[in-house]
């Protein structure tokens, strides 16, 4: 059974020879290859090289592109700077009105976004259908928050909901355009990143009234293109799980604060679950035995009913010890 088949079967709640494991390795893979985040996030050859070396080293069932939430905002016109640690951060935001332009679907495919599409193309060419190739794409709310600033978006949620709704509508179409580019380049799946849709920022009512229909549209768009749709939410999103169950994504990727067994009770079999070892403390700083135990517990508990893809709660920090990654992968055979 190939990694791709394993992931596809898990999504359909069908038996697998073992639980698929799909850590988001982007930043860690770049560090292992001695490539800076700055280079990996602009040079598709460098990024693909790092990710393919990580595939050789760890043999995961899926590989995802580097997580870079500044790529789409930069394409939309926000100013992005390379920080002292060589990561990229948005240093000057746009006005919300800039996101009401009619050509966002074209503009968002500029700047460094094509480098990520090309990375997908290289990964698929090298891996074929042995390993699931996944592209990471900023969701509408997160693209808006990183382009105009999260505080601006948070205030708009209460004071300018109509304008925010218009912005999200346009960014939903832009998000679909990026997803299409990745799927055409050979991605088997697209993970829509919505860390800003976490419960602390976006309550269940806001999720239902402003974002859910847009996420559903993106999920259906990916499905129409025969792609696997994954939705990633950071932090504690327990309050939003009933809404997320209706998101129509194949997979919900959840962070460590959410108990996956409890999440399964809430969402039923509406989606496979992906996650959710702690990337804040356990994976970068924990003992290998602790990583193995936590991964094994997830496999035996949350994996009991199927529909589980073992992963971290978010992208692994670059400094994660290799042994901890290996322990996560070994736990899948339980």
């Amino acid at each position: 059974m190939t990694g791709l088949e394993r992931v596809r079967r898990a999504i359909r709640f069908e038996p697998t020879d073992r639980v698929p494991v799909a850590p988001m390795l982007g930043a860690h893979a770049a560090a292992l290859a001695g490539i800076t985040y700055e280079a990996a996030s602009a040079d598709p050859a460098a990024q693909a090289h790092a990710l393919l070396r990580a595939v050789e080293r760890y043999r995961p069932d899926a590989i995802f592109t580097l997580m870079d939430l500044s790529a789409e905002p930069e394409a939309l016109g926000a100013e992005v700077t390379v920080a002292a640690d060589r990561t990229r951060i948005v240093t000057r935001h746009l006005s919300p009105e800039a996101l009401l332009a009619d050509d966002l679907e074209r503009v968002i495919l500029t700047a460094r976004v094509p480098a990520f599409v090309d990375t997908v193309r290289r990964l698929r060419a090298a891996l074929g259908d042995t390993v699931m190739v996944g592209a990471l794409v900023s969701g509408p709310l997160t693209a808006a928050a990183n382009a105009v600033g999260i505080e601006t978006i948070a205030r708009m949620l209460r004071r300018q909901r109509e304008t925010l709704s218009d912005v999200l509508e346009r960014l939903t179409k832009a998000c679909m355009a990026v997803a299409s580019a990745h799927l055409e380049a050979g991605a088997h799946g697209v993970m829509v990143l919505e860390p800003c849709a976490t419960s602390g920022i976006l309550g269940p009512d806001d999720l239902s009234s402003l974002l859910l229909a847009r996420l559903q549209a993106v999920a259906e768009h990916i499905r129409r293109h025969d792609g696997i749709g994954l939705l990633h939410i950071c932090g504690d999103c327990r309050a939003s799980l009933p809404g997320l169950a209706d998101s129509r994504f194949d997979v919900l990727s959840l962070d460590a604060p959410v108990d996956l067994s409890q999440a399964r009770e809430v969402i039923g079999r509406s989606a496979a679950l992906m996650g959710n070892l702690d990337v804040r403390q356990l994976l970068p700083r924990g003992e290998p035995e602790s990583v193995y135990d936590a991964a094994a517990a997830l496999v035996t508990d949350a994996g009991r009913v199927g529909g589980l893809i073992l992963s971290g709660g978010c992208e692994l920090p670059p400094e994660t010890p290799m042994e901890n990654v290996r322990q996560m992968l070994q736990a899948r055979v339980i």
Binding site: A84, D85, I89, I150, E151, A154, R155, A239, P284, R285
Partner: protein, 223 residues
């Protein structure tokens, strides 16, 4: 109900609704009615305290807390001139900022307002604050606490550097350190030798209060 108590209730309601103009107006009218500035700050503190508890329970969310913070600050602009003439007793002095390399200010701003509402004297150093910037500001302001925020795993170790600089400059016993932000955990705070950790804005206020109770700096006077 007297006019003053009606206005106090209106001020609290305006803050909780995130009504900046309403909060400023109620604060202004309270002062016109002869209320002491501490009556106004007391009402603001009660409103923000309730909101903090609701936020902690996920009954309200960041947007609600943020517009309430805006209303709080609008009222504080009105009351601050009067406070200068009759300064209130501060619980302690805190310098707060986002660590070097990080420009995510939302969490820090919410914590700043919640701390100020709870009666702390808060000096906001802004974002992308250099390691020495925290220590120098703490010395300049005779701060009891340095509060640091980071949203990124790549920058959170600047918190460790601040603790290290305090040690190397022989200042570690003079100022407490508290940390917070999405990637930061209690375990990380313990690991770098921080004294306090806040899971959210409400928790950060509780941590600051605990630090002030547990640790009384020799010679400190917050009256």
């Amino acid at each position: 109900m007297s006019d003053r108590s009606t206005l106090t209730a209106a001020l609290e309601a305006a803050v909780e609704a995130g009504d900046e103009a309403g909060a400023a107006s109620a604060a202004s009218r309270l002062l016109e009615f002869g209320a002491a500035p501490t009556i106004v700050t007391g009402a603001l503190s009660r409103a923000m305290g309730r909101l903090g508890e609701q936020f902690h329970r996920l009954d309200i969310f960041v947007p609600d807390l943020l517009i309430a913070a805006d209303a709080f600050e609008a009222a504080m602009v009105v009351v601050e001139p009067a406070l200068r003439n009759s300064p209130r007793k501060s619980k302690g002095t805190i310098v707060i900022g986002v660590v070097e390399g990080d420009i995510h200010t939302l969490g820090k701003n919410l914590v700043r307002v919640m701390l100020a509402a709870d009666g702390f004297e808060v000096y906001d150093l802004g974002r992308d604050v250099k390691v020495a910037g925290f220590v120098d500001a703490a010395l300049e302001r005779s701060a009891d606490i340095i509060a640091m925020s980071s949203l990124m795993t790549t920058t959170m170790d600047r918190m460790r550097d601040v603790v290290g600089l305090l040690v190397s400059r022989g200042l570690r016993d003079r100022v407490r350190v508290m940390v917070g932000g999405a990637p930061v955990t209690q375990a990380y705070a313990d690991e770098i030798g921080a004294d306090g950790y806040g899971e959210d804005a409400s928790d950060a206020v509780a941590a600051a209060n605990r630090l002030m109770v547990m640790w009384q700096r020799p010679g400190a006077d917050h009256s």
